[in-house]
Amino acid sequence: MMEKKILIPLFGDQVAPRFDLATEVHIFSITDKGSFLEDKTVVLPRASAEQLCHLIIMEKIDTIICGGIEDEYYKYLKWKKVEVLDSVIGSYDSVINRFSSGKLLAGDILFDKEFKS
């Protein structure tokens, strides 16, 4: 059974718009059959892209789902064989659902755009 470890920086109940400014991350593991194994939230003492990268390496994360990320950290994580799905916009739940169905891509906007003027 294959298992993947995912990290999502959060801003409230949404994917954080900035990787470097996130102070809360959610980590979970998912099997190739779509069942969740591990589920935890980590609160960082302060926002720092370096510390977040360190956490990602220490936790042996396979995939990150985030908003904006600087090229420097994006390339570093790629080099460390971490899959980065960046510029993702949406709530945590909608992102998880889409990811577990295997359809989430970088740049996806999962947002209810119903708009009342």
Partner: protein, 478 residues
């Protein structure tokens, strides 16, 4: 992939009443070379222009209907969203920040946010302009001088210390008090601080507190309402309001009357300006920089300047040393002005002759940099080509008795806070001018000659009358 795209592009948004026929708003804003986002009161984006699309990497179809922080991705959105404190009557907010675009670039930006009211005065949304600061930063990096800040140059110890602290202090919003003799560059320093600050895109408003009568100055500074006094036929915003999101430079603050000092004090406390004849205050986001050539500490002791105001203004203090205490800077500034004026007047001037240079280095410059600049401008005008000779200099420079005696008149003007006692003592011994040295030489010779002037003149190699004239010039009591 975009889900639930029930939102329609505002292709029908039009401006009516401006021209004979309605004009499409998206087409109009697309022509503006500054990123523009308009969003509703729920902070969902309703319009972005082409410049913003280029800056952020998000196209309008992706951005519309999305909460702004997801698209803007600026530091402000996460830390302190400026929209939170805005109401329909709020003034625009101008803040420097950064954003990460879709190409994963971190871009420094200047954000200007203003509320949008409908015709009933209700808040209906917000408009944000986003300016890319990268070209400005690059330009600053290439033009920055090793021995300078803004238009100020110098490599003396005192100036280097100022140049080191200036960039840091410019970033803060603290009030600054600049002291220094006339012509030392207080105005230039104030403007350089403004240009290096986050308020650089705002207005730099200067007002001379000594140039206007008290009543006029009050209206000029704080503004007035129509009908507040005879002749007040229109509302006047006042300099504080004009400097909103920028810097207000109060020069000659020492000449401010006591009653206006109280009003200024009250502004520095609560940052609210009350125009004359108005009960409604205006929250002004203004940084105050004050300057004076007067000794405010002495004025406080004399009761002509408020102690509490001095301490509020003097959060950060800069003392610009007089030119005579700046050692090698004279040569540096001299060459700088010579380059400027020879190219401005289109003359082929090949520097200064040895004697001219000696005269200029020996002079005491009571008018400081302004005087040096005037001397060089005069010389560059007079000199036809080649080297500048002593004959090209203003006549008073070659007549020592015409030199202004700065020693007695300006030394006590230097405020106590300006420099440490150790520093002052060091400067006195290492950076003496010819005038001070000459005085010491005369006293030394008189001591050796035990007060006999004939003998002292012989020791100095001067005639008796020259010695008498110099004793009188230096006010030596024999």
């Amino acid at each position: 992939m975009i889900l639930n795209t029930s939102y329609q592009l505002p292709i029908n948004a039009q401006i009516k009443g401006l021209f004979d026929f309605p004009v499409d708003l998206p087409t109009l804003v697309d022509e503006i070379p500054l990123g523009i986002i308009i969003f509703d009161i729920n902070q969902r984006i309703v319009l972005v222009n082409r410049a913003f699309e280029a800056l952020s990497g998000f196209c309008a179809a992706q951005a519309l209907g999305i909460p702004c922080f997801n698209i803007m991705r600026s530091r402000l959105c996460v830390h302190k969203c400026p929209i939170k404190g805005l109401d329909p009557n709020s003034e625009p907010v101008c803040i420097e920040s950064d954003l990460i675009n879709k190409e994963r670039q971190l871009i420094p930006v200047l954000i200007n946010l203003s509320p949008i009211k409908n015709n009933r005065g209700e808040l209906t949304g917000f408009m944000e302009t986003v300016e890319d600061l990268r070209p400005l930063r690059e330009a600053n990096a290439t033009t920055s001088q090793a021995y300078g800040f803004g238009h100020l140059i110098g490599k003396s110890r005192a100036m280097s210390k100022i140049f080191q602290t200036l960039p840091l202090l410019a970033q803060s919003d603290s009030a600054i008090l600049i002291t220094g003799e006339t012509g030392t560059g207080k105005d230039v320093l104030a403007e350089a601080i403004h240009q290096a600050s986050n308020r650089a895109k705002g207005q730099f408003v200067k007002i001379n507190c000594g140039a206007l009568p008290e009543t006029l100055l009050e209206s000029e500074l704080f503004g007035h309402r129509k009908g507040a006094f005879t002749g007040a036929v229109e509302n006047k915003p006042g300099r504080f309001r004009l400097a909103h999101n920028g810097t207000l430079f109060l020069t000659e603050i020492g000449d401010l009357s006591l009653s206006l000092q109280v009003k200024l004090l009250s502004f520095l406390d609560d940052k609210v300006v009350y125009p004359l004849g108005s009960t409604k205050g205006f929250q002004a986001n203004v940084r105050v920089i004050a300057a004076t050539h007067r000794n405010l500490e002495r004025m406080v002791k004399e009761g002509s300047f408020r102690n509490d105001l001095m301490f509020r203004l003097h959060v950060v203090g800069f003392h610009l040393p007089p030119l005579r205490e700046r050692g090698d800077d004279i040569r540096l500034i001299l060459d700088h002005f010579l380059n400027i004026f020879s190219s401005r007047f289109g003359k082929d001037i090949k520097g200064l002759s040895k004697k001219t240079l000696q005269i200029l280095l020996d002079y005491s410059y009571p008018g400081n940099i302004r005087e040096l600049r005037n001397i060089i401008e005069y010389a560059a005008n007079i000199c036809p080509k080649g080297q500048i000779r002593p004959t090209h200099l203003p006549a008073y420079l070659s007549e020592p008795e015409l030199h202004y005696n700065f020693e007695s008149s300006t030394k006590e003007e230097k405020p106590v806070w300006a420099s440490s006692p150790i520093e002052t003592r060091k400067e006195k011994t290492t950076q003496k001018t010819w005038s001070a040295l000459e005085k010491d030489m005369i006293i030394e010779a008189l001591l050796k000659a035990r007060g006999r002037r004939n003998r002292a003149a012989a020791i100095l190699g001067w005639g008796r009358s020259t010695l008498w004239r110099k004793i009188k010039q230096h006010e030596i009591d024999v």
